[in-house]
């Protein structure tokens, strides 16, 4: 039994692949320029934090209590308030998209407040923008509750709220979304290089007819695949390093875990990413189709189904079930942990293990699909 790899041939193929990488400007562009662009895009352009929300405020009551609550809304840092006597003009503004919600303080608010201390107010939110609607309702309620508690305390009805909540957010104290988006963006970049770039390179050999000539030499397919994996593996790690340095220097993302943990997890993720890319190009043999498949099966799931932008726990059950087979789902939380929390090995080991399992599955499929045959 001959060894599956001949070191001389593998070395020659890797040298050839590297020469091609450095001669092709588009490869360098995807590996080094695209990551920087993506990182800036996610770092600056996408922001999941609410700043101020524009709402309308209709106060139907002249009582002191109602006026005091209205003042609480006006002074809230979360809202920019438009005042009105009735709901009708505000409704038009809501339809026009000038405001995101309406808070209505009803006529009997003052009277009710005198009696049972809990008169209802109405909050209307624009459901066509669910995210904004959530902010509006949540923060409206918050303003009202805080106001009620303060009011009660001032009147000496009770000695302040029964429980004083003192909130502290760990790991990302100011809840800046950039801090968890940037590690996620690194995962996207690695998917781009690992899957998209690799999917193109074997397909290119098929298209240009070099695959055929190579297959007619004593070269083994395992050697060929190895020569595709090694350079792109190193390229991805290099790109990863650039991303990490940028994330820390420009976006101020802390690296609370160790570099070792970062490398281990990244290597684990590159297995399924590269494996998927190789499988795509071996199966499609066409650069155009390969790039489409890579975008649909690699890039989009990483973007949408990995918990990067949208929380998995709040997805419908069946979509949650699909996310189980998205490798990035196991990579992004781990990456965020390493950057924001530290080396929590109880989280990292299982993630790495699952990723390696995916990698093995992809490579097995890939060797099975790539036969030395033109049939």
């Amino acid at each position: 039994m001959k060894s599956p790899l001949d070191p001389g041939r593998v070395r020659a193929l890797i040298v050839k692949e590297s020469a091609q990488i450095f001669r092709d400007p588009s490869t360098v562009l995807i590996a080094f320029v695209l990551p920087v662009i993506l990182l800036f895009l996610f770092g600056y352009a996408i922001n999941l934090d609410s700043s101020t929300t524009r709402i309308g405020l209709a106060v139907h009551d002249e009582s002191a209590a109602a006026q005091s609550l209205a003042e609480a809304y006006r002074t809230s840092p979360f809202f920019e308030v438009t005042n009105a006597k009735s709901v009708a003009p505000l409704k038009e503004m809501l339809i026009a998209g000038e405001i995101r919600g309406i808070v209505v303080i009803p006529q009997d608010f003052g009277a009710g407040f005198e009696q049972d201390n809990a008169p209802p107010i109405q909050v209307i939110a624009d459901g066509s923008l669910p995210n904004a609607a959530n902010f509006t309702t949540g923060y409206s309620q918050g303003v009202r509750n805080t106001w009620a508690a303060n009011e009660a305390a001032a009147q000496g009805l009770s000695a302040g709220p029964a429980i004083d909540l003192s909130l502290r957010y760990w790991y990302n104290p100011s809840l800046t979304s950039r801090l968890f988006l940037v590690p996620g963006a690194i995962a996207i970049v690695m998917t781009m290089i690992g899957t998209l770039l690799t999917s193109l390179v074997i397909a290119r050999e098929w298209e240009r007819g070099t695959m055929e000539a190579m297959m007619a030499t004593p070269m083994r397919m395992t050697e060929f695949l190895a020569s595709k994996i090694v350079p792109y593996f190193l390229l991805s790690l290099g790109s990863m390093a650039i991303c990490t340095i940028l994330a820390m220097l420009i976006f101020g993302v802390p690296l609370r875990g160790s570099v070792l943990a970062l490398v281990i997890l990244s290597v684990a993720y590159l297995m399924p990413a590269l494996g998927q890319g190789l499988l795509i190009s071996a199966a499609t043999k066409n650069q155009f189709v390969a790039s489409q498949v890579a975008l649909l099966s690699g890039f989009l799931p990483t973007f949408l189904l990995s918990g990067f932008l949208f929380e998995i726990a709040s997805m419908p059950q069946w979509i949650q079930a699909i996310t189980i087979i998205v490798p990035a789902r196991y990579f992004i939380p781990g990456l965020q942990t390493i950057f924001l929390t530290g080396d929590v090995w109880e989280i990292l080991w299982p993630s790495a293990a699952i990723l390696l399992l995916f990698g093995t599955a992809f490579f097995t499929l890939c060797f099975w699909v790539t036969r030395r045959s033109l049939d």
């Binding site: 041939r9 020469a19 007819g209 055929e212 030395r372």
Partner: protein, 573 residues
């Protein structure tokens, strides 16, 4: 010859159940010490057979051994050059050689000697550091051959090494391969050029997956000995005479050769007693034997031409080129090209790849704006009435001009629309060509999946839907079988008799023979002008050849031009 290095018995290769097989009961033996020709038109199954021998495909059934083993088990002993040469275009010449040397485990200490010898042999030594993508077609081919030879094989498989290469490069490549056979290498040379078959030691002739003939080429030409005649000294155009003679039962096949005709007769004494022309027996060619095996060529009258409108000639030539020049930066792609093509004639632009004929062609199509000079098509100036000039011409290239993933009907509808035919006219034009070209049964089939002969017909059908007065043909019949090629030229000849002007660019000598006038373009300049007979006579005088073929003429003229350029250069120095 020598010893057998590959044997094939009753080989069958089927890609899809139910479809007719790509290879059907093919048997062959490849021996050392000679060139074995695998000859046939595109789509005959040549590539499939070569790939099976290279161990890249498995046969569906049959016995197959290379050096006494299964093909996949003897890769060390096989050198293989695929159709697109298998070169990495973004690597340099020496990087490509090194890569193939590594794959074939050529020891580092032997390498320099091997490379030097191969680069010497292929005359590529000056280009060691050049990227393979920047080599000319002929040089790529030679590099492909060098890569297949880094470790001297016992069996060398060449899949259409001469496609897309000009006659000079073809001749050089052939000489190189001849030299290799002396070293005990068995060579399989696959080709669609029938003239190459005559030079092989043994020939296997494939058509639609079936072996039509095997043996020395002389055996095939011997079968038509005494029945091939040259017809001269007649009145009128060669086209009209050919049409008349082909419609006779005793004429199996006929082609135009400059001002004379070449006929294959069913009996040595056929046409005896016919007057109005002189005929003389000539040596048969491989193609004559092939066409007889295929059951003869088509008849002479073209139904397309019969249904075509008569072109009103007017008093200006159909195509005019006055000093057309195109420069890209400081590179001159075409320099001072001038000619006129009258209605009712065929004009040929000939030249090796990269000589400037495509540039000239594109300027006349209105696809490139000339740097200097101007021209017209059907009286429409190329600079001021480009749109009308384009509308007056029908364009057909054997490759690229159809949409492979649209059906035949969709392709025809598209071209009718593109040429601006309004609905009623489009419908009747499509009906007309459908009937003439017998496309009715394949209207729903995707053009990409059609057999080559149908593609050819469809491409012509699409180009003549709007009955243009001028036709531009770009290598219209490369690689097709001789019957399909005859059929095509029957239509063209008929259209020309109706007054259509035809411009052909080609480096296929068979196509050149059909032209009334030829201009030969080399290094961006016109180096010769005239009828095929005039050019042949000129070349005969220049190179001392006796009755040169079109190809020999072509080579002699280019070599003379080279010599003149060199003499000028040395005088200047």
């Amino acid at each position: 010859m020598g010893t057998a290095v590959a044997r094939v018995r009753d080989l069958v290769k089927r890609f899809d159940e139910g479809q007719h097989p790509a290879l059907d009961m093919v048997s062959m033996t490849i021996e050392t010490g000679g060139v074995t020709g695998l000859v046939g038109p595109d789509g005959a199954g040549k590539t499939t057979l070569v790939r099976i021998l290279a161990g890249l495909m498995d046969p569906s059934s049959g016995i197959l051994e290379v050096m006494g083993k299964e093909p996949g088990k003897t890769l060390e002993a096989i050198g293989y050059m695929p159709q697109r040469f298998g070169l990495y275009e973004d690597l340099s010449v020496i990087q490509n050689l090194n890569l193939y040397a590594d794959m074939r485990a050529v020891a580092p200490e032997e390498r320099e000697a091997v490379f030097t010898q191969l680069l010497d042999f292929t005359d590529l030594d000056r280009f060691r550091q050049r990227l393979a993508g920047n080599l000319s077609g002929g040089m790529k081919q030679k590099l492909g051959l060098a890569c297949a030879l880094v470790k001297t094989p016992r069996l060398l498989l060449l899949d259409e090494p001469s496609v897309g290469v000009d006659p000079i490069s073809r001749r050089e490549l052939w000489a190189m391969v001849q030299e290799l056979t002396g070293e005990g290498i068995g060579v399989l040379w696959s080709t669609a050029y029938l003239d190459e078959a005559e030079k092989c030691d043994t020939v296997y002739l494939l058509n639609e997956g079936k072996l039509l003939f095997d043996g020395p080429p002389k055996a095939l030409t011997g079968a038509v000995e005494d029945r091939v005649v040259q017809v001269t000294d007649y009145d009128g155009t060669p086209r009209r005479l050919l049409t008349r003679l082909l419609d006779r039962e005793d004429v199996v096949d006929g082609t135009i050769q400059g001002s004379s005709l070449r006929l294959l007769l069913d009996q040595p004494d056929a046409l005896e007693g016919e007057t109005g022309f002189a005929k003389a027996k000539v040596a048969p060619r491989f193609e004559d034997g092939f066409i007889e095996r295929l059951g003869g060529g088509p008849k002479g009258t073209s139904p397309l031409a019969q249904a075509y409108r008569s072109i009103d000639a007017g008093n200006r030539p159909a195509i005019e080129a006055h000093g057309l020049t195109k420069r890209f930066g400081d590179f001159t792609a075409a320099s001072d090209i001038s000619f006129e093509v009258p209605y009712g004639s065929i004009f040929g632009l000939l030249g090796p790849n990269g000589a400037g004929k495509s540039t000239t062609f594109k300027m006349l199509c209105g696809l490139l704006t000339p740097t200097e000079g101007d021209g017209s098509v059907a009286g429409n100036n190329l600079l001021s009435a480009r749109g009308r000039a384009r509308a007056a011409l029908g364009y057909m290239a054997q490759k690229f001009s159809l949409y492979g993933d649209l059906s035949v009907a969709q392709n025809l509808n598209f071209f009718a629309g593109a040429y601006g035919l309004e609905k009623g006219r489009a419908r009747s034009a499509i009906e007309r060509v459908t009937e003439i070209f017998d496309l009715g049964d394949v209207m729903g089939t995707n053009a990409g999946g059609l057999p080559l002969g149908f593609k050819q017909r469809l491409a012509l059908a699409a180009a003549v839907l709007h009955e243009p007065p001028v036709l531009f043909l770009d290598e219209p019949t490369s690689g097709v079988d001789p019957v399909t090629r005859r059929e095509f030229w029957t239509h063209i000849n008929g259209l020309v008799e109706k007054g259509v002007a035809v411009l052909v660019t080609t480096h296929f000598m068979e196509e050149a023979e059909y032209c009334d006038t030829i201009t030969l373009i080399y290094r961006a300049k016109q180096i010769a002008n005239g009828t095929p007979d005039q050019l042949k006579a000129e070349a005969a005088q220049m190179a001392g050849l006796d009755r040169p073929t079109m190809e020999e003429t072509f080579i002699a003229m280019i070599e003379a031009s080279e010599a003149k350029l060199e003499a000028q250069a040395s005088r200047a120095a």
